[in-house]
Protein backbone atom coordinates (compact mmCIF):
# COMPACT_ATOMS: atom_id res chain seq x y z
CA UNK A 1 0.00 0.00 0.00
CA UNK A 2 1.52 3.27 -1.06
CA UNK A 3 0.70 6.41 0.85
CA UNK A 4 -0.88 8.51 -1.86
CA UNK A 5 -3.84 9.96 -0.04
CA UNK A 6 -6.08 9.26 2.94
CA UNK A 7 -9.55 7.88 2.37
CA UNK A 8 -12.48 8.56 4.67
CA UNK A 9 -14.93 5.77 5.41
CA UNK A 10 -17.77 8.00 6.36
CA UNK A 11 -19.96 5.34 7.94
CA UNK A 12 -17.28 4.61 10.53
CA UNK A 13 -16.64 8.20 11.57
CA UNK A 14 -18.16 9.24 14.90
CA UNK A 15 -16.92 12.85 14.73
CA UNK A 16 -14.83 12.18 17.84
CA UNK A 17 -12.27 14.83 16.83
CA UNK A 18 -9.29 12.63 17.74
CA UNK A 19 -7.72 12.88 14.28
CA UNK A 20 -8.16 16.66 14.15
CA UNK A 21 -6.52 17.03 17.55
CA UNK A 22 -3.65 14.66 16.85
CA UNK A 23 -2.86 16.12 13.41
CA UNK A 24 0.51 17.88 13.71
CA UNK A 25 -0.14 20.08 10.71
CA UNK A 26 -3.73 21.04 11.62
CA UNK A 27 -5.06 20.01 8.21
CA UNK A 28 -8.25 18.19 9.31
CA UNK A 29 -11.43 20.19 9.84
CA UNK A 30 -14.53 18.52 11.25
CA UNK A 31 -18.01 19.94 11.77
CA UNK A 32 -20.69 17.87 13.42
CA UNK A 33 -23.97 18.20 15.26
CA UNK A 34 -26.02 15.99 17.55
CA UNK A 35 -29.36 14.42 16.69
CA UNK A 36 -31.70 12.38 18.89
CA UNK A 37 -31.65 8.67 18.12
CA UNK A 38 -35.00 7.91 16.52
CA UNK A 39 -35.75 4.20 16.87
CA UNK A 40 -35.25 3.67 20.58
CA UNK A 41 -37.32 1.00 22.34
CA UNK A 42 -40.33 2.41 24.18
CA UNK A 43 -39.50 3.74 27.62
CA UNK A 44 -35.80 4.18 26.92
CA UNK A 45 -34.37 7.53 27.85
CA UNK A 46 -33.64 9.89 25.01
CA UNK A 47 -30.16 9.71 23.63
CA UNK A 48 -28.30 11.60 20.96
CA UNK A 49 -25.71 10.68 18.41
CA UNK A 50 -23.13 12.78 16.60
CA UNK A 51 -23.76 13.41 12.93
CA UNK A 52 -20.86 14.36 10.69
CA UNK A 53 -21.53 17.52 8.69
CA UNK A 54 -18.15 18.30 7.26
CA UNK A 55 -14.85 16.43 7.12
CA UNK A 56 -12.15 18.18 5.16
CA UNK A 57 -8.46 17.53 4.68
CA UNK A 58 -6.35 20.38 3.35
CA UNK A 59 -3.80 18.57 1.22
CA UNK A 60 -1.72 21.72 0.98
CA UNK A 61 -1.02 21.35 4.72
CA UNK A 62 -1.02 17.55 5.09
CA UNK A 63 2.45 16.06 5.44
CA UNK A 64 1.27 12.45 4.98
CA UNK A 65 2.53 11.35 8.39
CA UNK A 66 -0.41 8.97 8.85
CA UNK A 67 -0.95 9.81 12.52
CA UNK A 68 -4.68 10.28 11.86
CA UNK A 69 -4.87 6.84 10.24
CA UNK A 70 -3.08 5.32 13.23
CA UNK A 71 -5.07 7.18 15.86
CA UNK A 72 -8.61 6.71 14.51
CA UNK A 73 -10.26 4.29 16.97
CA UNK A 74 -13.01 3.44 14.49
CA UNK A 75 -10.88 2.77 11.39
CA UNK A 76 -12.60 5.54 9.53
CA UNK A 77 -9.40 6.65 7.83
CA UNK A 78 -7.16 4.52 5.66
CA UNK A 79 -4.39 4.97 3.15
CA UNK A 80 -5.29 5.21 -0.52
CA UNK A 81 -2.78 4.49 -3.27
CA UNK A 82 -3.50 7.21 -5.78
CA UNK A 83 -1.82 10.50 -5.07
CA UNK A 84 -3.86 13.62 -4.52
CA UNK A 85 -4.56 15.31 -7.84
CA UNK A 86 -2.83 18.57 -8.56
CA UNK A 87 -4.83 21.76 -8.44
CA UNK A 88 -4.39 25.21 -9.89
CA UNK A 89 -5.25 26.90 -6.61
CA UNK A 90 -4.38 25.93 -3.05
CA UNK A 91 -8.03 26.24 -2.03
CA UNK A 92 -8.89 23.36 -4.36
CA UNK A 93 -6.62 21.11 -2.34
CA UNK A 94 -9.17 21.19 0.47
CA UNK A 95 -11.07 17.96 -0.10
CA UNK A 96 -14.49 17.50 1.43
CA UNK A 97 -16.34 14.31 2.41
CA UNK A 98 -17.37 13.45 -1.15
CA UNK A 99 -13.77 13.76 -2.38
CA UNK A 100 -12.25 11.94 0.58
CA UNK A 101 -14.57 8.95 0.41
CA UNK A 102 -13.63 8.66 -3.25
CA UNK A 103 -9.83 8.53 -2.88
CA UNK A 104 -8.64 5.35 -4.57
Amino acid sequence: MSHGAIRLIEANCTSCMICARECPSWCITIDSHTEPIADLPPGARERTTNVLDRFAIDWSLCMFCGICVEECPFDALEWASDPVAAATRSGRLVHEIEDLTDEQ
Binding site: M17, A20, I28, D31, S32, H33, N50
Partner: protein, 203 residues
Protein backbone atom coordinates in the same frame (compact mmCIF):
# COMPACT_ATOMS: atom_id res chain seq x y z
CA UNK B 1 26.29 -5.09 20.31
CA UNK B 2 26.98 -4.27 23.94
CA UNK B 3 26.08 -0.73 24.93
CA UNK B 4 27.30 1.12 27.98
CA UNK B 5 26.33 4.56 29.22
CA UNK B 6 28.65 6.89 31.07
CA UNK B 7 27.59 10.07 32.80
CA UNK B 8 30.39 12.56 33.22
CA UNK B 9 30.55 16.12 34.58
CA UNK B 10 30.64 18.79 31.90
CA UNK B 11 34.16 19.80 32.92
CA UNK B 12 35.42 16.30 32.11
CA UNK B 13 33.51 16.00 28.82
CA UNK B 14 36.47 16.33 26.49
CA UNK B 15 38.71 14.08 28.61
CA UNK B 16 36.00 11.43 28.89
CA UNK B 17 35.51 11.33 25.13
CA UNK B 18 39.27 11.21 24.59
CA UNK B 19 39.53 8.36 27.12
CA UNK B 20 36.75 6.44 25.36
CA UNK B 21 38.53 6.91 22.04
CA UNK B 22 41.74 5.58 23.57
CA UNK B 23 39.84 2.55 24.85
CA UNK B 24 39.00 1.58 21.30
CA UNK B 25 35.68 3.40 20.80
CA UNK B 26 37.20 5.14 17.82
CA UNK B 27 34.20 5.37 15.48
CA UNK B 28 32.04 8.48 15.97
CA UNK B 29 28.36 7.64 15.54
CA UNK B 30 26.47 10.79 16.52
CA UNK B 31 26.26 13.66 18.95
CA UNK B 32 23.02 15.19 20.11
CA UNK B 33 21.32 17.16 22.82
CA UNK B 34 18.02 16.98 24.74
CA UNK B 35 16.26 19.80 26.54
CA UNK B 36 15.49 18.34 29.97
CA UNK B 37 13.62 21.35 31.33
CA UNK B 38 10.80 20.41 33.68
CA UNK B 39 12.19 16.92 34.34
CA UNK B 40 12.84 17.01 38.08
CA UNK B 41 14.29 13.89 39.57
CA UNK B 42 16.79 12.58 37.14
CA UNK B 43 17.76 16.08 36.08
CA UNK B 44 17.83 19.36 37.88
CA UNK B 45 15.18 21.76 36.65
CA UNK B 46 17.12 23.57 33.97
CA UNK B 47 19.54 21.42 32.08
CA UNK B 48 20.46 20.34 28.61
CA UNK B 49 21.76 16.83 28.27
CA UNK B 50 24.43 16.34 25.61
CA UNK B 51 25.40 12.85 24.53
CA UNK B 52 27.75 11.30 22.07
CA UNK B 53 27.66 7.71 20.89
CA UNK B 54 30.96 6.09 20.01
CA UNK B 55 31.39 2.63 18.54
CA UNK B 56 34.22 0.15 18.69
CA UNK B 57 33.87 -1.60 15.35
CA UNK B 58 36.60 -4.15 16.14
CA UNK B 59 34.90 -5.73 19.13
CA UNK B 60 31.32 -4.68 18.31
CA UNK B 61 30.55 -2.54 21.35
CA UNK B 62 29.35 1.02 21.86
CA UNK B 63 29.46 3.66 24.55
CA UNK B 64 27.16 6.62 25.16
CA UNK B 65 28.95 9.43 26.95
CA UNK B 66 26.47 11.87 28.52
CA UNK B 67 26.79 15.11 30.36
CA UNK B 68 24.51 17.90 31.49
CA UNK B 69 25.02 21.64 31.12
CA UNK B 70 22.89 24.46 32.57
CA UNK B 71 20.31 25.97 30.23
CA UNK B 72 21.19 29.53 31.12
CA UNK B 73 24.92 29.07 30.45
CA UNK B 74 25.06 26.33 27.80
CA UNK B 75 28.75 25.89 27.13
CA UNK B 76 30.66 22.70 26.48
CA UNK B 77 34.10 21.86 25.16
CA UNK B 78 34.14 20.87 21.51
CA UNK B 79 35.26 17.34 20.64
CA UNK B 80 35.82 18.20 16.98
CA UNK B 81 39.58 17.90 17.57
CA UNK B 82 39.06 14.23 18.50
CA UNK B 83 36.45 13.39 15.86
CA UNK B 84 36.35 15.86 12.99
CA UNK B 85 32.90 14.59 12.00
CA UNK B 86 31.53 15.64 15.38
CA UNK B 87 31.94 19.23 14.25
CA UNK B 88 28.85 18.96 12.03
CA UNK B 89 26.78 17.54 14.87
CA UNK B 90 28.02 20.23 17.22
CA UNK B 91 27.04 22.93 14.75
CA UNK B 92 23.58 21.39 14.45
CA UNK B 93 22.99 20.98 18.20
CA UNK B 94 24.65 24.33 18.77
CA UNK B 95 22.19 26.27 16.63
CA UNK B 96 19.08 24.28 17.53
CA UNK B 97 19.62 24.68 21.30
CA UNK B 98 21.90 27.75 21.31
CA UNK B 99 24.68 25.73 22.92
CA UNK B 100 28.19 27.09 22.53
CA UNK B 101 30.77 24.41 21.78
CA UNK B 102 33.96 26.05 22.96
CA UNK B 103 36.72 25.57 20.42
CA UNK B 104 34.31 24.35 17.75
CA UNK B 105 33.01 25.91 14.57
CA UNK B 106 30.50 28.63 15.54
CA UNK B 107 28.89 28.85 12.08
CA UNK B 108 25.30 27.75 11.56
CA UNK B 109 24.61 24.54 9.70
CA UNK B 110 20.89 24.28 8.93
CA UNK B 111 19.19 27.50 10.04
CA UNK B 112 19.34 30.66 7.99
CA UNK B 113 21.50 33.47 9.26
CA UNK B 114 18.53 35.69 10.06
CA UNK B 115 16.70 33.07 12.13
CA UNK B 116 16.12 34.24 15.68
CA UNK B 117 15.84 31.74 18.52
CA UNK B 118 16.67 28.13 19.23
CA UNK B 119 13.86 25.99 17.79
CA UNK B 120 14.50 22.74 19.68
CA UNK B 121 14.40 24.35 23.09
CA UNK B 122 11.17 23.26 24.69
CA UNK B 123 10.24 26.83 25.53
CA UNK B 124 10.40 27.79 21.84
CA UNK B 125 6.80 28.64 21.00
CA UNK B 126 5.20 27.92 17.64
CA UNK B 127 4.27 31.58 17.45
CA UNK B 128 2.46 31.37 14.12
CA UNK B 129 0.02 28.92 15.69
CA UNK B 130 -1.00 31.23 18.50
CA UNK B 131 -2.79 33.43 16.00
CA UNK B 132 -4.81 30.89 14.04
CA UNK B 133 -7.73 28.75 15.01
CA UNK B 134 -6.95 25.19 16.03
CA UNK B 135 -9.31 22.70 14.30
CA UNK B 136 -9.19 20.42 17.34
CA UNK B 137 -10.72 23.01 19.66
CA UNK B 138 -14.22 21.95 18.61
CA UNK B 139 -16.08 19.29 20.57
CA UNK B 140 -17.76 16.27 18.96
CA UNK B 141 -21.32 17.23 18.16
CA UNK B 142 -20.40 20.88 17.93
CA UNK B 143 -21.43 21.69 21.51
CA UNK B 144 -19.67 24.65 23.07
CA UNK B 145 -16.61 23.40 24.89
CA UNK B 146 -16.76 23.48 28.67
CA UNK B 147 -13.08 22.80 29.07
CA UNK B 148 -10.49 25.00 27.49
CA UNK B 149 -8.66 23.31 24.70
CA UNK B 150 -5.09 24.27 24.02
CA UNK B 151 -3.18 22.83 21.08
CA UNK B 152 0.30 21.37 21.58
CA UNK B 153 3.08 23.87 21.24
CA UNK B 154 0.99 26.90 22.14
CA UNK B 155 0.95 28.01 25.79
CA UNK B 156 -2.07 29.61 27.39
CA UNK B 157 -2.32 33.37 26.84
CA UNK B 158 -1.78 34.00 30.55
CA UNK B 159 1.64 32.40 30.29
CA UNK B 160 2.80 33.56 26.88
CA UNK B 161 1.42 36.12 24.49
CA UNK B 162 -1.54 38.13 25.73
CA UNK B 163 -0.08 39.15 29.06
CA UNK B 164 0.99 42.17 31.03
CA UNK B 165 4.28 43.48 29.59
CA UNK B 166 5.24 44.70 33.06
CA UNK B 167 5.23 41.10 34.32
CA UNK B 168 8.58 40.40 32.69
CA UNK B 169 9.58 37.48 30.52
CA UNK B 170 7.46 34.32 30.59
CA UNK B 171 8.74 31.51 32.78
CA UNK B 172 10.55 29.12 30.39
CA UNK B 173 9.41 26.11 32.38
CA UNK B 174 5.75 27.05 32.15
CA UNK B 175 6.13 27.77 28.43
CA UNK B 176 7.86 24.44 27.91
CA UNK B 177 4.95 22.59 29.54
CA UNK B 178 2.93 23.34 26.43
CA UNK B 179 5.31 21.19 24.39
CA UNK B 180 5.17 18.11 26.61
CA UNK B 181 2.48 16.06 28.30
CA UNK B 182 -0.97 15.35 26.92
CA UNK B 183 -2.09 16.67 23.63
CA UNK B 184 -5.20 18.12 25.17
CA UNK B 185 -4.47 19.74 28.48
CA UNK B 186 -6.75 20.95 31.20
CA UNK B 187 -4.41 23.04 33.23
CA UNK B 188 -4.94 25.89 35.56
CA UNK B 189 -2.13 28.42 35.52
CA UNK B 190 0.11 27.57 38.45
CA UNK B 191 0.26 31.27 39.28
CA UNK B 192 -3.23 30.85 40.81
CA UNK B 193 -3.79 32.31 44.25
CA UNK B 194 -2.93 29.47 46.58
CA UNK B 195 -5.45 27.02 45.19
CA UNK B 196 -4.03 23.72 46.33
CA UNK B 197 -6.47 21.72 44.23
CA UNK B 198 -5.22 23.34 41.03
CA UNK B 199 -2.69 20.65 40.35
CA UNK B 200 -4.51 19.08 37.43
CA UNK B 201 -1.68 19.76 35.08
CA UNK B 202 -0.89 16.21 34.13
CA UNK B 203 -3.00 15.51 31.05
Amino acid sequence: MSEVSRRVPAAEWHDAVAAAKAEGYDYFDWLGAVDQIGRPGEFSENEFEVMVRLVDLETDRAVMVRTVIPRDAPRLASIADLFAGAGWHERESGELYAIEFVGGDPRRLLLSDDYVGAPLRKDAVLAARAGIEWPGAKEPGGAPSRRRMVPPGVPEPEIWGDRDPAAGDPDPEQVSESAVGGRVRRRRPSTGSGDSTGSGDSR
